[in-house]
C-alpha cells in the first residue's frame, strides 16, 4: 500500500534567480545522466521511483526564501555552483564517539556502509539497498518510497532521485532486536553534494533501536541532503536517536519520513549540535489506530549557525497519540527556527496530540522563529501546543545566587537543566552520558 498522500506544504509561486535555475538544471541533468548510465548497465531496481522523484523535484525546484516553508531558512544560499552529484575532492574522517555503547556498530562513507557485519541477531538484516534488491526486489519495491511523499519535499525528492544505493535495516516480523544499532557516519566528502539514503523497516511486532551520529568532520563543507524512511508495521517499534555534530561549514538537510501502521511505536530524538545550516524535515504519518509517536529534539546554535526543525504529524487515523518536545539554546548571532504542524483529519477522533517548543535566547544578536500550527478537523480530540522563547529566568538565577552560587555557574546549571530535559528521554545510558558531557562543555562557554 502506498502512503496516503498528505497535505503538501504550501509552495508559493516565486521567481528564482537565474543562478538557482541553472544549478537545478545541472542537478537534473546529472540525475538523468546517472539513470541513463545505469540503464545501459542493466538498470537500477527502483529506477522508476527515482524518475518519479526527479520529476517531482523538477516540478518543485529548490525552495528559496520565498516559499513559506523556507521563509526563515535560506537553504538555497548554500546551493552554490560547485554543488554536484559527482564529488571528487576526496573525503574527511569525522571524530568517533559513542564507542562504549553496547551495540552493533556500523560506519559509513558518504552514507554508504563501509562493511556489512558478519553476524547479526536472528531476524535482523543490514545491507546495502542494492544487495537487498538483488535478494528480494519485491520487499524493496514495496517499502522504498512508502513513507516518503515525493511531491511534498523538494530536497528529499532530489535525494531520492539521485541515490543509486543506500542502507537497509530490517527487523523481520516478531524480531525483538534489543541491541542498539549504532551508525557512525564517519567519512564524508570534502565538499559537494552528498545524498545518502536509508530505509529502516520494523515488521509486524518487531522492534529495533537505532542511534546515528554525524561526527565532527573538520575540513568538510559538504552539503548532506539525506532521505531516511522508517516504516513501522503493525505492533512494531522503532526508537531512533540522531546526533548531528558536523563542522560549522557543513550543511545538512535531514528528510525523515516515518510511516506507522496500527499499534506501532516510533520515537525520535533529533539532537543538532553542529552544522552551519541544518534543516530537519521530520514527517510522521501514523496510518493506523493506536499508534504512539514521540518526536523530540534539541539544538544548541552558536556562532552563525542556523538550525531549523520543521515537523509535520499527519494524524490520518483515530485513537493515536503524539508527543512533541523541541528545545533550543541560541547564542551569539545564531538562528533557531521551529515550525511544528499537527494535522488531525476529519475522521481521526480520539487523538491526543501534544506539542511544546521552548527556546532560550542568550544574546541580543541571536534570534528564534517559532510557529506551531494545529489544524484540527475532528471534534473529539485532545490537542495542545505551547511555544516559549525567552531569556534565562531571572528569579531562578537570583535564587541560585542567593545560595552562594556564582552567576556563571548558576547560568550553566539552568541551561543544562533546560537542555538535559530532552536528552533524559533517550533510552541508552552511554548515549545520554555522552550528550550530558557535550552539553556541559558547549553550554559552559555561553554561561559566563
Amino acid at each position: 500500500m502506498p502512503a496516503r498522500l498528505s497535505e503538501p506544504d504550501p509552495i508559493q509561486p516565486f521567481t528564482r534567480t537565474e543562478e538557482i535555475v541553472q544549478i537545478e538544471q545541472k542537478l537534473i541533468e546529472e540525475i538523468n545522466a546517472r539513470l541513463e548510465r545505469q540503464d545501459a548497465n542493466g538498470g537500477n531496481g527502483w529506477a522508476s521511483a527515482r524518475r518519479m522523484a526527479a520529476g517531482a523535484f523538477k516540478e518543485m525546484g529548490l525552495p528559496t526564501k520565498r516559499s513559506e516553508a523556507y521563509k526563515y531558512t535560506p537553504v538555497a544560499k548554500r546551493v552554490t555552483d560547485d554543488l554536484s552529484l559527482e564529488n571528487s575532492a576526496g573525503t574527511v574522517q569525522a571524530d568517533r564517539k559513542l564507542e562504549d555503547v553496547e551495540g552493533i556498530h556500523l560506519s559509513t562513507t558518504n552514507g554508504l556502509l563501509d562493511s556489512v557485519p558478519e553476524s547479526l541477531p536472528e531476524g535482523l538484516t543490514i545491507s546495502s539497498l542494492v544487495d537487498a534488491y538483488e535478494g528480494n526486489r519485491i520487499f524493496v519495491n514495496d517499502h522504498l518510497s512508502r513513507a516518503f511523499v515525493a511531491d511534498r519535499d523538494a530536497f528529499s525528492s532530489l535525494a531520492a532521485a539521485a541515490a543509486e544505493d543506500g542502507i537497509l535495516i530490517h527487523a523481520a516480523a516478531g524480531a525483538k532486536i534489543d541491541t542498539p544499532i549504532v551508525i557512525h557516519h564517519d567519512t564524508v566528502s570534502v565538499s559537494g553534494l552528498v545524498q545518502p539514503r536509508i530505509l529502516v523497516v520494523a515488521d509486524e511486532g518487531a522492534s529495533l533501536n537505532l542511534v546515528e551520529r554525524f561526527g565532527h568532520a573538520e575540513g568538510s563543507s559538504a552539503f548532506e541532503n539525506r532521505i531516511a524512511e522508517m516504516i513501522v508495521a503493525d505492533g512494531g517499534s522503532i526508537d531512533h536517536v540522531l546526533i548531528y555534530e558536523r563542522s560549522q561549514q557543513s550543511t545538512f538537510v535531514n528528510g525523515l519520513h516515518v510511516y506507522q501502521e496500527g499499534s506501532s511505536h516510533y520515537a525520535t530524538n533529533t539532537i543538532t549540535l553542529g552544522g552551519g545550516m541544518v534543516r530537519n524535515n521530520l514527517h510522521f504519518l501514523p496510518d493506523g489506530e493506536e499508534c504512539e509517536t514521540h518526536l523530540n529534539g534539541l539544538y544548541i546554535a552558536r556562532g552563525s549557525q542556523h538550525i531549523d526543525n520543521h515537523t509535520f504529524v499527519d494524524h490520518a487515523k483515530p485513537n493515536c497519540e503524539s508527543n512533541e518536545l523541541f528545545k533550543g539554546v541560541v547564542a551569539d548571532s545564531a538562528t533557531g527556527v521551529f515550525n511544528g504542524k499537527i494535522l488531525v483529519r476529519q475522521d481521526s477522533q480520539k487523538i491526543n496530540a501534544y506539542q511544546s517548543s521552548k527556546s532560550i535566547v542568550l544574546d541580543r544578536s541571536a534570534s528564534v522563529y517559532a510557529k506551531p500550527e494545529l489544524e484540527i478537523y475532528a471534534d473529539d480530540v485532545r490537542c495542545s501546543h505551547g511555544a516559549t522563547t525567552g531569556e534565562l529566568d531571572e528569579d531562578a538565577l537570583f535564587y541560585l545566587r542567593a545560595r552562594g552560587i556564582k552567576p556563571e555557574k548558576a547560568r550553566l546549571l539552568l541551561l543544562e537543566a533546560f537542555a538535559r530535559d530532552v536528552v533524559d528521554l533517550i533510552d541508552q545510558e552511554p548515549v545520554r552520558d555522552y550528550l550530558y558531557a557535550r552539553l556541559h562543555s558547549l553550554l559552559e562557554a555561553h554561561a559566563s
Partner: protein, 271 residues
C-alpha cells in the same frame, strides 16, 4: 515616642555586632518609588529579631535589599555585615559571606536536582571559607542529618528543586537549605505564610534547633503566630519604610491584640 517607654529598651544581649543598618533608603528600580525611608536596625550575634508591620510597610523589601535583589536601588544609608560593607557585595558573595534569605516564595527549578543544587551551594560556601569540597559520602550524610531537622524525606535529593513541592515542603526546604549552608545571619521572609499549624511547628522547631551564639536571625512576619514558636529577643515594628517602635517579645502580643493602627497613628504624630 511616649509609647516606646512602655517597653524594655532594646539592649544588646552580646556585643558582637552582626548587622548594622543605618538610615537605609531604598526605591523600586523600575519607577523610583521609595519603599524604605530611613531604616535603622542593629542585630548582634546570637539574637533573634522579629520585624513586624502591616502590609506594604516594606518588610519584604528589606529582605530583598539585604539579599541584593536588583529590583531595588539603595539611594541612601549603609549596611554593615560583620565588618564588611554589604551593599558592595553581589548577591552570591553575600551568601558566601554567610547571609541567608529564606524566600517567601521559593523558586521552582525544573531539571535542577536538589542534590546537585545543594552540592554546588555548599561547596561554593566551603570554597569561600578555604575548605575542601565535601566528599560524596560526607555530603550525603550532611543532607540526611539536616533533612531530618525539618522532617524532609531524604528521597527528595533526586527531585527537582521545589518542583511539585507542597507549600509546606517548600518552606521546610528553605530551612533545610539554611541548615546545610550554616550561615551567620538568616533572614526569614514571611516563612509562616501559607503554613498550617503542624508545618509551622516543624519549621519553627527547625529554626530553634539552629539558634546559637554565633548566628543571628531576622524573622519577618505579618502575624504574631510564628513568634509563639520562634520566640524573638526583640520585636520591631516597621511602618511606612521605617522602624517606628521596638521592644521585647511582649510587643508582638500587644500588636496581635490591638493591630497596627494605634502605632500608625502614633508614628504619624512623631514623624
Amino acid at each position: 515616642m511616649t509609647r516606646r517607654n512602655n517597653h524594655a529598651p532594646p539592649t544588646p544581649l552580646k556585643d558582637t555586632t552582626m548587622l548594622t543598618i543605618k538610615n537605609l533608603h531604598a526605591s523600586i528600580e523600575e519607577d523610583g518609588t521609595e519603599i524604605l525611608k530611613g531604616l535603622d536596625l542593629q542585630v548582634n550575634a546570637g539574637e533573634v529579631h522579629a520585624i513586624m508591620g502591616p502590609n506594604g510597610s516594606g518588610k519584604s523589601t528589606l529582605a530583598s535589599v539585604l539579599a541584593g535583589r536588583e529590583d531595588y536601588e539603595v539611594t541612601e544609608g549603609s549596611i554593615d555585615f560583620d565588618g564588611e560593607d554589604l551593599l558592595e557585595m553581589e548577591t552570591d558573595e553575600r551568601a558566601r559571606e554567610g547571609l541567608f534569605l529564606a524566600f517567601q516564595y521559593p523558586v521552582e527549578l525544573p531539571g535542577v536536582s536538589m542534590s546537585n543544587f545543594l552540592k554546588q551551594a555548599v561547596n561554593s560556601v566551603r570554597e569561600h571559607k578555604g575548605q575542601d569540597p565535601l566528599s560524596a559520602g560526607d555530603f550525603l550524610k550532611l543532607m540526611k542529618e539536616k533533612a531530618a531537622l525539618v522532617h524532609l524525606d531524604p528521597s527528595l535529593k533526586a527531585r527537582s528543586v521545589n518542583e511539585g513541592f507542597s507549600g509546606g515542603e517548600k518552606k521546610r526546604n528553605e530551612i533545610f537549605q539554611l541548615a546545610m549552608l550554616d550561615p551567620k545571619l538568616a533572614i526569614l521572609d514571611e516563612t509562616d505564610s501559607g503554613l498550617d499549624i503542624d508545618a509551622l511547628r516543624i519549621v519553627a522547631d527547625g529554626v530553634n534547633g539552629l539558634r546559637g551564639d554565633d548566628r543571628a536571625f531576622v524573622v519577618i512576619t505579618h502575624y504574631q503566630r510564628l513568634l509563639d514558636y520562634i520566640v524573638p529577643d526583640f520585636v520591631h515594628v516597621l511602618v511606612d519604610g521605617k522602624i517606628v517602635m521596638s521592644g521585647g517579645k511582649e510587643l508582638a502580643l500587644e500588636l496581635e491584640e490591638k493591630g497596627y493602627d494605634w502605632i500608625k497613628a502614633d508614628a504619624g504624630q512623631t514623624v
